[in-house]
């Protein structure tokens, strides 16, 4: 391998060298693996060697190529290698999973070297350019990204091949049936012009219908082509946007000071940019419209030609799609009726015997959840009964509670009456006892005696009474007209009492009024200390 590290300007040669090295290494390892695995040398297969032309050799290069190096390596490409492997696998195991997977891998694997090649080209330009150019690498990057955009526009059909081929396959089948070439192969404008010219030729009545149909078909074809172009245009916009994003991200990486250090990192960044662009574009109205219009136009074209084909088949007395569809629709309708009848029969069978009927009803009850509901109803009834009983008790209690005050009053009244009666009884008993104790006859005798004495008083007693009356009169006279000396004495005594009261208030609960009436008490006040000691 050339020492490119010493010659950093030679990136393109480095690229070629890398691929040559890679192919050599791969082929050597493959030989070893296959020797120990399938015992088949991939380089001895009858398929043509992808590099045969480059090497000036024909197909079927023969065996014994260990460590093979292409004699001349003008412009090798990884894609060739991947294609070759794919064909090898196809020949080995047709329809096997590895073939399918490798087919996908080979398809997508081509994008990887394409990207690397573009990067190497950028490197080459940067490193062979002037110092100014190297400093202004962003301008070089921009230029190369623009070139990449152009390249993508040219290869966009390849990039989106799976999607586009799905439509092409559908539509091509129609055209093939009509013995025509695909409407998107060859010079479309020329095809359209020729068709239009053909259709302007006057046709007999019997052919007028077909002529109109072909005109419509031509119109649908043109619509389809237009929508396909619009869709591809949107796809190019998306790819272009992804490259813009890539440019921005590379600028950011450049400023961050942490450059990408492997092809894998660059590839991942590229995918990330494509994903961001797709996420944006695919939600835009232009993409949705282009996509829907393409699908609708393709279906319109298909249905147009399918209808025509159906008519041709009818004219040839052959079965066609319309007949099959109608039959399938009838069959489906009959199936539905059959299922409905089966369900009815199943229901009727269940009802054919009492036991079955009972089982059926039981099933229905089970489905309706009646046992559970019945249990719940029973529980509810029990609860309601309990509640009713509780309510009745509550009502009784309330009534009783309402009666309690009046009963209490009655009771109090009764108690009072009883007490009164008991008191009366007691008094009665006392009276009885008193009456019992009284000597009525003796009393009567006393009363009679007294009455006799009153009616017939003793003269001596009468004299005494008069004397007493005289004494009382005398005393009364004395009280009303007292002796002045006595009065003076009394006043002196009163004065003395007042003095005592003011000097030493009495500690006794006895009032001065009573003291006045009690001379002994007056003496007590004259000796208060003695009184206290007596009390203690």
């Amino acid at each position: 391998m050339a020492d490119n590290s010493n010659n950093p300007m030679d990136w393109l040669n480095g690229w070629n060298e890398i691929q040559r090295q890679a192919w050599n290494t791969w082929s050597t390892m493959a030989m070893k693996n296959m020797d120990g695995g399938q015992k088949t040398n991939p380089f001895t297969t009858p398929f043509s060697n992808p590099f045969a032309n480059q090497m000036g050799m024909g197909s079927g290069m023969g065996s014994g190529m260990g460590g093979w190096t292409p004699p001349s390596w003008s412009s090798p490409d990884w894609r060739n290698g991947l294609d070759w492997w794919q064909r090898f696998l196809t020949s080995a195991r047709s329809g096997s999973p590895e073939q399918t997977i490798f087919k996908e891998f080979a398809h997508w694997g081509t994008a990887y070297p394409e990207m690397a090649k573009q990067i190497f080209k950028t490197m080459q330009e940067l490193q062979t350019g002037s110092e100014h150019q190297q400093a202004e690498w962003t301008e070089t990057l921009r230029k190369n990204l623009e070139e990449a955009k152009q390249a993508l526009a040219g290869h966009i059909e390849g990039l989106y091949a799976p999607w586009n081929s799905a439509f092409n396959d559908q539509a091509t089948a129609v055209f093939t049936n009509f013995g025509q070439s695909s409407p998107w192969s060859g010079n479309q404008s020329q095809l359209g012009a020729n068709m239009k010219r053909l259709l302007t030729i006057m046709a007999p009545d019997v052919l007028t219908k077909w002529q109109a149909r072909m005109e419509t078909g031509q119109r649908y074809t043109e619509t389809y082509q237009k929508t396909l172009q619009n869709f591809l245009k949107v796809q190019v916009e998306e790819s272009s946007l992804s490259l813009d994003i890539l440019g921005k991200k590379l600028s950011a990486i450049s400023k961050s000071g942490t450059p990408l250090k492997s092809l894998q990192e660059i590839f991942d960044l590229w995918v990330q940019c494509a994903e961001e662009a797709h996420a944006k574009i695919s939600f835009e109205e232009s993409y949705k419209t282009a996509n829907a219009h393409l699908v609708n136009a393709m279906n319109q074209l298909r249905i147009h030609y399918a209808t025509g084909l159906d008519e041709i088949l009818v004219s040839l007395n052959l079965p066609n799609r319309g007949e099959l569809d109608r039959n399938h629709e009838s069959i489906q309708s009959l199936k539905r009726r059959m299922r409905a009848m089966e369900d009815d029969i199943t229901s009727l069978k269940r009802l054919s015997t009492p036991k079955a009927e009972i089982e059926s009803l039981r099933d229905e009850l089970e489905k309706m959840g009646l046992p559970k509901i019945r249990k719940e109803i029973e529980d509810l009834n029990n609860r309601l009964t309990n509640l009713a009983e509780q309510k009745a008790r509550e009502n009784d209690l309330n009534t009783l509670q309402a009666d309690i005050p009046s009963l209490r009053n009655e009771l109090t009244e009764l108690k009072r009456q009883i007490a009164t009666m008991q008191e009366v009884q007691k008094r009665l008993d006392t009276l009885k006892e008193e009456i019992t104790r009284l000597e009525i006859p003796a009393l009567r005798q006393s009363v009679s005696t007294l009455a006799e004495k009153i009616q017939h008083p003793n003269p001596e007693v009468t004299v005494q009474i008069q004397a007493l009356r005289q004494s009382v009169s005398t005393l009364t006279e004395k009280i009303q007209h007292p002796n002045p000396e006595v009065t003076v004495q009394i006043q002196a005594l009163r004065k003395e009492i007042e003095e005592i009261k003011s000097n030493d208030a009495p500690e006794s609960s006895e009032t001065p009024g009573r003291l006045m009436d009690d001379p002994n008490a007056l003496k007590k006040f004259r000796k208060p200390n003695q009184l206290r000691s007596n009390k203690a």
Binding site: F105, Q264, Q300, S333
Partner: protein, 354 residues
Amino acid sequence: MMPFSITPEQAVREVIQFNEKLTAGLPVLGQMDNLTVGCSDREEIYREDKMVLYRFKPLVEQVHRVPILIVYALVNRPYMADLQEDRSLIRRLLEAGMDIYLIDWGYPDRADRYLTLDDYINGYVHRSVKEICQRHSLYRINVLGICQGGSFSLCYASMHPEWVRNLVLTVTPVDFQTPDNLLSSWAQQLDVDLMVDSMGNIPGDLLNLTFASMRSPLSTGQKYMGMVDIMSNAAQLANFLRMEKWVADSPDQAGEAFRQFIKDFYQKNGFVNGGIVIGDKKIDLKNITMPVLNVYATKDHLVPPASSLALKSLISSTDYSELAFNGGHIGLYVSGRAQKEIPPGIAEWIKARG
């Protein structure tokens, strides 16, 4: 400063390493025949036309009393839920004690072009539910819908609520017109009548291509370039190829069912705006009163989370739960983390509801 720092030697080394991996991996790739998918034992229970109802062999002695019927989408094949032993929603549910049934729609052909959503939902699904009920002496079972199968399950539960005990939905589109729904935005201008009338059944490859074109073509390339790194490891390569097989295994869509699905669900957004009629029954999600578990993926680019989460406000169920998975549409079934989060979550939720 230059954005690249690569010498030719470095590039050569990288390319050689790439080729070494490729060369070492090719013999391993060559031995990858008889690639099996679907790891759990199952038996056929009921068959009608191309539809087959399977029951998976329980993995525990005491299985949960009420079985689960898995309703898969018409797109791709249901073995994605049982891809391989360590990546299987079904196996994890069986291990959790669930009794699992699965509807396999088969591969519709031109004779099935006139199958309608009524045939699928009121026909195949309803008869499968009846069959399971009869086998287990039950009057209702659990239903688990996957993606479009979830939308079918919603329709079924709306029309036959008395047959559904619990409803589990996984990555199920409900609001088909959320702003981040790329498929829906593409479908709005599509003349689906023209499409079905011209194609009859819709080719599975066309659908695959549509799904693939939701991402940049280069992403697909990156996937295959990345495959080289694992090619020499037979187990890893087998995992990769199983997923590839599933992705590529896309049955055609019965024309009439496809027509109604695109029109009523994508273009008219019928779950939200109303107007869906299946057979002679109007779909009203307010009829859904049973417990509902809504499982969605936060990074789902096919069914955006907002599309699934719209369900909550549209149903009458008072027992509504959500389970979020931090991953994508497919990762919810096959990723290692999903195995630990999703099946146990579903099983616990169902067990708690009898």
